[in-house]
Symmetry: C2
Subunit: 240 residues, 2 copies
């Protein structure tokens, strides 16, 4: 049996779409987009439409959709709430379609559009995600969104945690240095994940904007079994 | 006193030239370009002209220059020798100008052309490099050449070793996640550097081409005090 290939990409700028047309691409943007998406589906959201532009979100608002939108940590005046997972309560999102403003996320979804599947990864759904990947006979690309196209530690460490689960099985192999690095960084981080993430530049920025209240939550394993997946440019809550 | 900013870049694709116009850019391509360059100057080379194209190297050959050129591990028929540091013996290079064929290297030198200095880093000159950086009141960018624009472990670990030296002083600070990751990977690698590098994909490739005889040499600290620097697109052996 050929082992499935496991690779990791540290930034949208490093993504090579032609190499991944038959891969499952798992997107990590754990502070906070992909954690919020997992939370929304756990709380019964019907679907999430990622949009890049503020004006696009505003147009959806006028059509009656629920809008999650911020820029630089400030909730936009027309939005229903911001992008923190704490906003996606069952009371607010159950049965609803949510417009989620994310420039970074929509760019990545477009980049990876030729992949077999694009799914959403975070610590919140890590075990469920790994178990589902085991059932799929495809190569896997762990795609770290990074911050402003730069490498970031938090997405890398989460990718490393998934890589560990996959490589602990006999189904996957890797010769990808980025995957090896992610694994090693996860092995350094895992005994004190919060302490490790403390040093991440992104967290410093979150803290500066007073947005770091959800960090502990975003580092929680297995809050949900949901595996959000892109279908026709819309996120739905379960691939199964 | 303001601390000097330390950053790390994992791939030419991630380089942001506008942020580094006053920085010292240190290039790492330790298997084998930057190790070979340090070795050549230790052995008395006068200068090295990096060229991107094979035809450019061939034209220099016709003008009587010494040519180091390979493609995929095969020495080009008109070249005097290949790109291994073992080729750059004192007998061959002392007093000479060498044409060094490196597509990757010339691309990076062009990208970073607005930097304050572009210097060459490797384990071979690591202490001398760090000591010189201490004397310069500039931000530093550790620029990992990577492999085919991808992240690689060996350049990252070497950048991490330099970062450790700089951050152990009080002169530098960093909020760059790439630097923090490089530091952590170096801390995992340093007690058994060869063993750590064994797993690097690049080394696997080198081995496949029978080119791994120089790995131990390239991981040797402080073979030279030379700090090659780019001046007018030509490398000279000493910045001082």
């Amino acid at each position: 049996m050929n082992k499935r290939n496991l690779e990791t990409c540290f930034s949208p700028l490093l993504f090579e779409p032609d190499l991944h047309t038959d891969s499952i691409v798992v997107i990590f943007d754990i502070f906070r987009a992909t954690s919020s998406m997992c939370t929304a589906f756990e709380h019964g959201a019907h679907s999430i439409i990622p949009v890049a532009e503020v004006e696009e979100a505003r147009a959806y608002k006028e059509r009656g959709f629920l809008i999650a939108a911020e820029r630089d940590g400030i909730i936009l005046d027309f939005a229903d709430f911001g992008n923190s997972p704490y906003n996606f309560t069952r009371e607010k999102v159950e049965g609803k379609t949510i417009i989620y403003s994310t420039t970074n996320g929509t760019g990545i979804i477009k980049l990876a559009s030729s992949a077999r599947y694009i799914v959403i990864g975070s610590f919140l759904n890590i075990t469920s995600l790994a178990e589902w990947l085991f059932t799929q006979d495809n190569s896997v690309l762990l795609f770290c969104a990074g911050w402003k196209n730069r490498f970031n530690l938090e997405d890398t460490v989460c990718a490393g945690a998934v890589a560990e689960k996959l490589l602990n099985s006999t189904l996957y192999s890797t010769i990808c240095d980025s995957t090896l690095a992610a694994l090693d960084l996860w092995s350094m981080a895992k005994d004190d994940l919060r302490g490790y993430i403390e040093k991440a530049a992104h967290r410093t920025r979150l803290k500066k904007n007073g947005l770091d209240d959800c960090i502990d939550f975003c580092l929680t394993a297995d809050y949900t079994r949901k595996i959000p997946v892109i279908k026709n440019n819309i996120l739905v809550g379960d691939i199964l």
